[in-house]
Symmetry: C2
Subunit: 194 residues, 2 copies
DNA sequence: AATCGTGAGTAAGTATCACTCACCCGACTA
DNA sequence: TAGTCGGGTGAGTGATACTTACTCACGATT
């Protein structure tokens, strides 16, 4: 997937990733990216359609790596509920550990329509589809209530994960991912009403 | 709150709101806003610090109106659980009915640090605080499990609402808000595990 | 060993915006 | 009738995303 990338291209991707740790995407100029990468501005446009395309490719690499790591983790779990809980935990931890990844995905790309045509988004959709299938499996084998809309459950899980990570990502706070994900799992799987 | 606004300022706010129904914020130029409003570009900068400030003010008006409507609705409910369910339903419906409001709040402002200094964000924080207090009330009077972290529950609710609305907002789909919010309420309050 | 093609990179633009600034106008008021 | 002030104008300007014409190093081909 990422083999035989020209050195300049790699340097540009690395530079943007580094800069995103300190600044938000709009505040990062192409001139700054080029300077940080040690190349000229023109080279960015040799390898990327435009500035946003560069962002999407960086996100795409992160998602691909994350997708592989997540799949490996879920394969170790036996039941659907265990897999879904692992999904919540692993994803939240990924957003919090790799802040740039979380920031791009949750804050920087969604307001640009082109993102939804990108490879990054396609990978993300595939990931969500596989989680959706786990939910369906769980319903089929009696682990999960059948009268729940599987799509809404998926959205609730993803939404909970994202919103739990959001403050930490925006304000660069440290939060206890372990404790938070345990709580989310408890809320979604057991419910909060007495 | 919004009294005695000069006509030009109102026209500019209305123009942006209208344009946001068709285009995303970055794609809307100040020249286009001015043209749509029937004023000159310079006037925008008489009333707003910059283009983003204009966006924040438009959002602020929407949030203030929504906040009032929501408070009125919640006051009619007696129990904490009923209030929280009404919060989920009312908020989701607001995002779906007023797409521009949903789009600005969920997609356009969060990637700009200045938003978190704006009046709009302050109002939003106040709104979330009042919902948090309802959760705490519910715990105090035995409606809601006391071993749940109230903050995480709040985030889960908000996250579920936002993510359930997101696809509809992004792709301009119609979705059955009634059915979706009933499902979210079921998931969060009763849990999904058999 | 001369030539060709190509991938990698450069440097000097250009067009488009967001934003500024000096100014105008009419209506009050002293 | 001069002063001032809110509301509004329109011609700039600088930053910046993006383009384009070019160079250089190189391995393969003849």
């Amino acid at each position: 997937m990422t083999q035989h990338q020209p050195p300049g291209k790699i340097k540009i991707l690395k530079a943007l990733s580094l800069l995103l740790e300190q600044h938000n995407f709009n505040a990062i100029t192409t001139a700054l990216i080029a300077k940080e990468a040690g190349v000229t501005e023109g080279l960015i446009y040799k390898y990327f359609k435009d500035k946003k395309d560069l962002l999407f490719e960086l996100l795409g690499e992160n998602i691909t790596l994350f997708n592989q790591a997540l799949t490996a983790k879920l394969d170790k779990k036996d039941t659907a509920v265990e897999k879904l809980k692992a999904f919540i935990t692993t994803t939240t931890k990924a957003y919090l550990k790799n802040r740039v990844f979380g920031r791009i995905l949750l804050l920087e790309v969604r307001n640009t329509p082109e993102y939804f045509q990108s490879r990054a988004h396609a990978t993300m959709t595939a990931l969500e589809t596989s989680i959706h299938e786990i939910i369906l499996d769980g319903m089929a084998n009696g682990e999960i209530r059948k009268d729940i809309d599987s799509k809404v459950l998926l959205k609730t899980m993803v939404g909970a994960i994202e919103h739990a990570s959001l403050d930490a990502i925006i304000f660069n706070q440290e939060i206890n991912a372990q404790a938070v994900t345990r709580q989310i799992n408890e809320i979604i799987f057991k419910g909060v009403e007495v």
